[in-house]
Symmetry: C2
Subunit: 262 residues, 2 copies
């Protein structure tokens, strides 16, 4: 359920316009450190797998003006916005109202949302607090929540999801079939076995010579030494293979040179 669906790769298709996205994480608990976000990485992986480029993330507190400002900036800048957090039943769950305000539409208890909640929990009283979770801005479509019923919603290009990772992940699965997809970014990773400093000159030259590909260099400490992962990214499989081969040749050459010192 939490695996992104396979992207449909049509290598013979004409190049498509990139489909872009931003994530807006809403919640004091992330900013205070009390809760460690698990949603950004999941959504990043998910969107990459279906050919949507995540281009920005923001985290803001549970403050209406801050949510509205961030949402209006992001929805104007990207194909899609995905929000997480702030759609529960408590007083600090203000995301739905903030989204309605950002779009300038009314918000009220939505009979469709009440229906799915009542169907799932026929013996639980729908208190005013629980009905808060059925507040949906005018004109929005519901996003199914197979985990705990209370729905998310989509309005314009904004998808409003829960903050609980298990629920958010299920909502992404509900949303995915409705999204436009770009040509997926393909990638190839080369483990360099040496620090960035030794690689940078040759790697930079390959990057400059191949401006249609994205070359990234990610140093890390593997427990005993500082080493580097080199990543080549391209939408075209043939170009990816060509540039990845050039990077592999560079690494082999440098490893040969540095062996006497290793």
């Amino acid at each position: 359920m939490t695996q992104p669906p396979e992207a449909e790769v049509r290598s013979d298709a004409a190049p498509q316009a990139p489909v872009t996205a931003a994530v807006l994480v809403i919640g004091d608990e992330i900013l205070s450190g009390r809760t460690k976000d698990q949603n950004i990485g999941f959504i990043a992986d998910y969107l990459t797998a279906i050919g949507i480029d995540l281009e920005e993330v923001r985290v803001v507190p549970d403050v209406e003006a801050r949510i509205v400002a961030a949402l209006n900036a992001l929805r104007a800048g990207y194909t899609y916005v995905f929000t997480t957090g702030g759609i529960g039943p408590t007083h600090d769950d203000i995301t739905a109202d903030a989204v309605a305000k950002a779009f300038g539409v009314a918000i009220d208890i939505d009979p469709r949302a009440v229906g799915v909640m009542r169907a799932r929990y026929p013996d639980t009283e729908l208190t005013p607090a629980r009905l808060r979770m059925a507040r949906i801005p005018d004109g929005a479509d519901l996003i199914a929540n197979p985990v705990s019923a209370a729905p998310g919603f989509r309005i314009g290009n904004v998808h409003v999801m829960a903050g609980v990772p298990k629920i958010m992940q299920a909502m992404m699965d509900s949303i995915a079939p409705t999204l436009a997809r770009g040509r997926p970014m393909l990638s190839h990773t080369i483990e360099a076995g040496m620090g960035e400093g030794a690689l940078a000159e040759g790697f930079g030259a390959i990057a400059r010579a191949n401006p249609d590909t994205l070359l990234g260099s990610y140093p890390y400490f593997d427990g005993t030494r500082h080493t580097t992962r080199l990543v080549v990214r391209a939408r075209d499989a043939a170009r990816l293979a060509t540039v990845a081969a050039a990077v592999e040749a560079l690494v082999a050459d440098l490893q040969g040179r540095t062996t006497p010192r290793a």
Copy 2:
């Protein structure tokens, strides 16, 4: 080394103005999902512990215009900005140049930075790529990097740090003694043992009656059931104790009522 220093709590001191902060995470690898950020949560915990309120986080790609725009927005809005990523030796490490551009100052290889790198690695050639790590904007102070020498820097209210968590954490330790500190936010967590829906009405009433405290409600799935952590936050210890006691009484009352159904 990676534990935040103890905050100096002076309960008799006059209320201080809040000290605020934003984090700017720079890197394509976070947005593609290839690397899962570990720095936001660490910095959030660290700042909270020393009385600095983290109020916003942004993640942007390795694109100069995007870094400059985000940095200028954040540095105007908060007491401090902390950036992570993009200060290594490779072509995609453009943070230092973007920061110089944002501040409208020149940037060049800094003899102080060269000095610390040469002192650490006397037998390693300082190639043009490695010297890239010594590019520091005019007027910046260096931030010590005890892990791998190549320094971060501070300019104005912006602290530029490495993206590798081990190095970033050491840099935070280097920076911490220089930061103004607010009165630390204290917190008390109550494990409710029930879903948010049952709690929301009473919890909201307590929140409305105590606007000087922050009440948060964080639902989660503990493996067998949906339950909730309730968090009370305040800078004043006595107010924290009073409101936390009210929340504990609410939970005890609700647990008593729901026991027959449990």
